[in-house]
Every structure is written in structure tokens, then in C-alpha cells.
Amino acid sequence: MITRRDLFSITGRMAAGSIFTLAWWNALRGRIYASEKKYDLVAVKGGNSPVELFNTAISQMGGMQRFIKKGGSVLIKPNIGWDRTPEYGATTNPDLVAAVVRECYTAGAAKVYMFDHTCDQWQACYKKSGMQATAVKAGAELVPASSSGYFVKTSIPGGRVLKEAQVHKLFLECDSIINIPVLKHHSSTVLTASMKNLMGVVWDRGEWHRAGLHQCIADFSTLRRPDLVIIDGWRVMTRNGPRGYSVSDVQNMKYLFMSADPVAADSAAAMVLAQSTGIKNPTDIRYIKIAGSMGLGRNDLAKLNIKRITI
């Protein structure tokens, strides 16, 4: 026998349950969606432009909103280290960077910053790399990193050799970080991709050279893991890196790697770079191995869930 009281009680509980479910529905749905699409790494090649590769990869990764905070600030860290035009492959493709900036705003970013602590004179680098025009076009603020005044002394608790660094304040303050390096040969670390690109976030990078480059690159990655790594492998400098001498050093390889795992991204990029250079053992690159052993990401590519797309 159901009394009136029971009826009220059941209705009430059902209502409460529905409200509970409704309240969480969006979050739950997002989770289910993400787990369906979750790749450790998306690698795309071919196509007509790096922007096309990016668009393909980001949809496979489940959209930019997975990686940045709505209404938050985003730091995009391209490689702008050299006073060279994009054809030399010494700096990240400016069209790609513009596309990422726009995608961030579409996904609800309130403010997008970019900077690099350059090797050549900073204004020359910002200009010649095409990054200044890109920033203006896409609405990002390209800020300087040309003086110690922008950097904050920060301790790196996870570092084995590098215990402290002067880190750009935006790297510490921004809500999300997207690391967009360009894939290049490098005279002393064999290659430079995502983890090495974070050298442009610190002021006192001479210290890395002094204390052992490979270990320091891995150590710095313990400080803050970027929310997303996009490696530009469109034009790839295959020798004379990281500055390059002539455009003959560059190959149009048309690759793009996207991952939330910097170690996985760099490992995959190393395999590709090895195809066209004299790199004998791309799995033996020291800083990648160290980072893998320190648990900063996975370099066992065979065991990863990788989406490979040829356009």
C-alpha cells in the first residue's frame, strides 16, 4: 500500500536524483566523449599547410577546450630564437601559431600571450620570424623576454641538477600553456623539439650549458608540464641546427605532432628527424631518455595509443 506520504517521498527522491544527474550530465558526457577520443599522440602528415594538419590533429584530440581554461589566460611558447625568416625552419611556422591562437580564443581563452627569450636580438627575431605580424593578426600579445626584469627566481623541486632557474613570470602565472616548437636538428642535443624549447622560458640558460644540457632540459620539465604540445614539422631543419646556414638545410617534411605528453611528442619527432639525417639511434637521445626515466612522460612509443593520419 502506498501512502500519500510514500508517494511524496518517492517523488521527492526522484526529483533530487534527476537534479543531481542533470547537474553532472554535461561533465559526464564530456568525460565519456574524451575517453572515447583519447589518444596519447596524434601525428599528421601531408596536406597543403601546417594549419590543415593542426585542424585535423586538434579535432582528433577532442578540441582545444580540453586543454585550456575557459575565461583563463594562455601562454603559447613558439620558437622565435633566431633572426631568420620562416623559410629557414629556425623558428616556428607563423601561420600555424596564428591558427593555434585563434583556436584558443574560439575555445574561450580570455587572453593569449606569446614570448621567447631569443638568442639573436629580440626585436629582430620577433619581426623577421613573422611572429609579430602573426600576433597582431590573430590577437595575441607578443611580449618581451629580453631582460631579467621579466623573470622570477623559481626553485625546481623535481630537478636533479637544475634546482633553480629564473623563469618568465607568464610561464608561472598563465592558466594554460601550449608549447609550439619547431622540429630541428641541434648541434649538441641532436634535436630540439618541445622540451628543449622551454629553454626560451628561462633567463639564465647558460647555467644549463654549464651543468649538463641533457639533464637540465629534463629537470626543467618537472617544473610545469605544458597542457598541450604541438610540434611543427612542416619545414624541418635537418642539419646545421639550431640556427641553420642556408635553406638547403631545410626539408619540407609536412609533419605535425600533437600530444599532452612532451616526452612522447619528442620521441616521435626524433624518429621522423632520423629518417633524413645522420641520427643513428633516435631512441637514444639522452634528454628524452632521462625525461622518460624521471617519469615526465612516455618514450615507449610502441605501447602508446597513437593516431596516425596521412592527408
Binding site: S188, P242, Y245, S246
Partner: protein
């Protein structure tokens, strides 16, 4: 006639502010013709440039001489930036009531023309060593480059650091640390000219300045000059009291036009329009007075100021060179392999150190225009002969492979404009690798900072023990840009440094190898 003074003020304002601004930011904001014309007309740099290559592009001084032949020393009031600065001080002295009246004073022609002769002679014999201390443009330049830049940079960085705290990046922090002693020195020399100006007007221009002295000789013959019309003059003395050169003897109705800097104050102030700018009349009377010798006083002042300048100059400059950017990696000095640089590099386009030392007037414009700040004023890097001239200081920067700015701005032709292709092949020095000091050798870790920065890959990383790589230098393609030395983190002595070429050479172009083709169709992982 009254328009002459406002015209003078307008022209000098435009030219002097242009030049002052060139020392702050050469490349942005100002239209090119204004930059070019303001530098083109600077007398001593122009003479220097003409002596390198006689061409219309360096003939600004001929224009000035022609103007002087016609109208007298227009240069000193219309064009010279140091003259303009003195005018500001002279005016402030008058308007503040510090100086009531200035009358006629006797000239110091013996000293004036002796210094001119000495300057000319020393230029012929040993280049610019002597004249660079007297040239008004260079004195002004050093004041802007060192004396003014320090407070400006501090101000800029103060504002920027406040803004940066609020994530406002509109003003960028300048990573330049000008030496305080350099600023004090340049400021002192400047004030040694400005303070006497308050009380004695253009005394520097009529006693020391070699450009002033030469133009003074020429102006004695000018077609037009200032003269007092005795028929209408009421001898009120106003002209004499506003004369910056103290060259109007109103009682005698005479203007000493060799000292007149053509400021036209007298024309403006004369109530009867008796002071006129007109065709020169032969002056019989009064000319004898000009030859009265009275150099004792001034030469004493000069000796004194020279002594003070020397006192400040050397010790301060030496100290300022010592404190460079914070050391990164100190090795035990006892264990380091010792070496000493035989010669420092002069800027690309200066052909040779000797050529450069004899032609540069040390105006410091290139130092302020250099984007990478590799050009720094020398103390004794070139020896005594190159004091204050820019040398390539690889502890403060390195020469950008794609930059030709120092040659573009040099008004004296000491650094020639070569164009980018030629500049990339100028070898101002050669890298020397000192393996015993290299981190890879001493610590057994990878570094390679030198090779990273090398624009021609003259420094390459080659296999070394334990899977390490170590630099190797190919001097044939090295340009001596100093990127390797700048980047090397080892101190006190670096593991790679640039030995300057006393005579610049031509570097070979690096071999451009064929593009490697990839044909792998599939993902390699």
C-alpha cells in the same frame, strides 16, 4: 630682418632634436631625409667621410663652407647641436637673472687658431686622436650616448617594471647597463662647455672648436655679414648685451664677424634697426683690436679642464670595463689555460684597425645604433690611439650576421657601408678554441652553446669521447662575429674567443651541400 632669429631657432630646433633623437633611436620614427640631412651637414664628420671617399654623399662640409663664404658662420647657430645646447644654457642664464648683461670681450685668436692648426696637423699625421676631443658633434654624441642614455634607460626601466607587475608589456625593459662612470665622464665634458657658456656665451665655439675656427677664418671673407649702421645707431648697447659671442663693440660701432655665430639676436633686439645683415663693407678701423693677444686666461682654463677630464676619464673607463654581466661559470683560474688576445676587432666595414683608429671621431652614434650592443667604447683595447672609439666587445654582445647598421649610420666614413652580401664575408677576426677550458673537456657534459650561435657553422660539433660532442673551428668560413665567445658560459677566461684581424680579411662562403631527400612514405613509429 627680424625673421632671421626665429628662422635660426626653428632650423636649429629641428636639426638638433633630430640628432639628439638619433642617439636614442636611430631607425624608428624619424623620416630618412631628416636623419640624412642632419648628419650630412655635420662639419668634422663630413670632412672625415670625404677624406675616405670624395663624393657628393660626403660633401656636407662643402655645403657648409659655401654657406659660410656667403653668409658667415651660419653653421654654428643653425646646424651644430652643441651650439644649440649652449644656446639653451645661455638663455637660461639670462632669463634666470644669473647673468644680467654681456658686453664685448677680447678674442683669443692665438689659442683658437693654434688649436685648429694642431687639429689639422694631427689629423694628417695620426688621424682623429686629437680632434675627437674637440669636435662638437662627437662631444654632443658622447653626451647623448653615455650621459643622457643612463638616466633615460633607468627611467624607462622604472616605468616598465611597474607596468610589468600588472602584466602590461607595452614598455619593454631595456637590457642595457651603461657604465655610470662613462655617463659621469661624458656629462662632465659636456658641462665643462655648458657652464662657462652661461657666463661667457659661446666661448668654446670661439676658443676651442676646430670647426668654429676654420669657419671663423672663412667668415672673415664672407659676402654678407652683420654690421652696425653708424648713422642710425643710438649706442644703446642692447645688441652687445645679447651677443652670445661677446663680439659687438657697440661704442666703436664694430662687430667682430670672425667670432659672430650668426644667431641674429642683435638684429632682433635693435630698436633702430641699425644692426643689419648686408653686403660686407671693407672695415678699416677697429680691425686692429681683434688681434690683441690674450690667451693666458683661456689656456689656463683649458689645461685645468683637460687635467680634470683626464682624472675622470681613465680610471673610470678602466673600472667600467671590468664589471661585465654576472659570471656564469667560474673555473679555478689557476687551472685554466691562459691566453691573451693580441688584438681586438674593429667594426665590419672599417677595413683595418689602423684605418679605423685614424678616421673615427668617436661620436658614438654607431654604439647607440648597434642592435646587439657589441660595439662599446674602447679604453685601451686599441691602445692609446683608439681611446673612446667603438670596438667589438663580445662580452656584451655579438655582431649579427644580417646587420649592417654601424656602416649605415657612421657619419665620418670610418665604418663603410658595404651592403649585406659583402658584410657577411668580412672577416673581422677568427675564433680560437681553447679545449682545456671547455666544459665538455673539463666536466664531461654536453654544451655546444658556441656552435648553436655560429651563423656560418665555422664552429661545428664533432664527436668526442663518451658519446659527447665538442666544438671544432673552421677559420676559413669564420667571420669573427663573436657569437661563440658571447655564448660560451665559461669564466673567467672563456673556452672560445675571437682574435681580431688587424687588417680585415674576406671569409670564404660555407659550402652549401645538396638537399637530402626523404622518400619514406610511412610513419617511422
Amino acid at each position: 630682418m627680424k625673421y632671421l632669429k626665429p628662422l635660426r631657432i626653428a632650423v636649429s630646433l629641428i636639426l638638433s632634436f633630430t640628432i639628439a633623437f638619433l642617439f636614442i633611436d636611430y631607425y624608428r620614427y624619424l623620416p630618412e631625409f631628416l636623419r640624412k640631412i642632419s648628419l650630412y651637414l655635420q662639419f668634422i664628420p663630413s670632412v672625415a667621410a670625404f677624406s675616405v671617399k670624395a663624393s657628393g654623399a660626403a660633401a656636407g662640409f662643402i655645403v657648409v663652407i659655401a654657406a659660410t663664404v656667403i653668409c658667415g658662420r651660419l653653421y654654428c647657430s643653425f646646424i651644430c647641436p652643441l651650439g644649440f645646447c649652449q644656446d639653451i644654457f645661455i638663455r637660461s642664464g639670462r632669463s634666470s637673472g644669473l647673468v644680467k648683461k654681456r658686453g664685448y670681450s677680447r678674442p683669443h685668436y692665438v689659442l683658437f687658431y693654434t688649436l685648429l692648426a694642431a687639429s689639422a696637423l694631427s689629423c694628417i699625421l695620426s688621424g682623429t686622436f686629437f680632434i675627437r676631443w674637440l669636435d662638437p658633434f662627437s662631444i654632443f654624441g658622447r653626451f647623448m650616448a653615455f650621459g643622457i642614455s643612463l638616466p633615460l634607460i633607468e627611467l624607462n626601466n622604472g616605468i616598465a617594471s611597474v607596468l610589468v607587475k600588472n602584466n602590461n608589456f607595452s614598455v619593454s625593459v631595456l637590457n642595457i647597463k651603461p657604465s655610470v662612470s662613462g655617463a659621469i665622464f661624458a656629462f662632465s665634458v659636456f658641462m665643462l662647455i655648458m657652464l662657462p657658456a652661461i657666463f661667457h656665451g659661446r666661448i668654446y665655439c670661439n676658443t676651442i672648436c676646430p670647426a668654429g675656427a676654420l669657419l671663423s677664418l672663412i667668415s672673415r671673407l664672407s659676402f654678407f655679414n652683420l654690421a652696425i649702421d653708424p648713422s642710425s645707431c643710438i649706442k644703446c648697447g642692447k645688441c652687445s648685451s645679447v651677443c652670445k659671442s661677446s663680439c659687438i663693440d657697440y661704442a666703436a660701432g664694430h662687430i667682430d664677424t670672425a667670432r659672430c655665430v650668426s644667431c641674429f639676436n642683435c638684429v632682433s633686439v635693435c630698436p633702430e634697426q641699425s644692426v643689419r645683415f648686408a653686403r660686407r663693407k671693407i672695415q678699416a678701423a677697429g680691425s686692429k683690436r681683434e688681434r690683441v693677444i690674450n690667451s693666458d686666461n683661456t689656456s689656463a682654463t683649458i689645461t685645468r679642464s683637460g687635467f680634470i677630464a683626464g682624472l675622470i676619464l681613465l680610471p673610470n673607463m678602466v673600472f667600467s670595463q671590468g664589471k661585465q654581466a654576472g659570471a656564469i661559470y667560474r673555473q679555478d683560474p689557476a687551472k685554466q689555460k691562459k691566453y691573451s688576445r693580441k688584438s681586438y676587432s674593429s667594426p665590419p666595414g672599417s677595413i683595418s684597425t689602423d684605418n679605423f683608429n685614424s678616421r673615427c671621431t668617436a661620436c658614438s652614434l654607431c654604439i647607440t645604433a648597434c642592435p646587439t650592443k657589441v660595439l662599446q667604447p674602447a679604453v685601451l683595447q686599441y691602445g692609446l690611439n683608439g681611446i673612446m672609439q667603438p670596438f667589438m666587445d663580445f662580452s656584451s654582445g655579438f655582431c649579427n650576421y644580417d646587420c649592417t647598421k654601424c656602416g649605415e649610420v657612421c657619419p665620418a666614413g670610418a665604418i663603410l657601408e658595404t651592403g649585406i652580401d659583402a658584410k657577411r664575408r668580412i672577416q673581422t677576426g677568427k675564433s680560437v678554441f681553447v679545449i682545456e677550458n671547455c666544459i665538455t673537456y673539463t666536466n664531461g657534459t654536453d654544451c655546444g652553446a658556441c656552435s648553436e650561435h655560429c651563423p656560418t657553422k665555422a664552429v661545428q660539433m664533432v664527436p668526442f669521447r663518451n658519446n659527447l660532442v665538442i666544438p671544432e673551428v673552421n677559420n676559413a668560413i669564420c667571420t669573427g662575429c663573436g657569437a661563440c665567445e658571447y655564448a660560451c658560459p665559461v669564466r673567467p677566461l672563456r673556452a672560445i674567443y675571437v682574435e681580431g684581424n688587424p687588417v680585415h680579411k674576406t671569409a670564404e662562403l660555407p659550402e652549401v651541400r645538396e638537399v637530402i631527400k626523404t622518400t619514406e612514405p610511412d610513419f617511422p613509429f
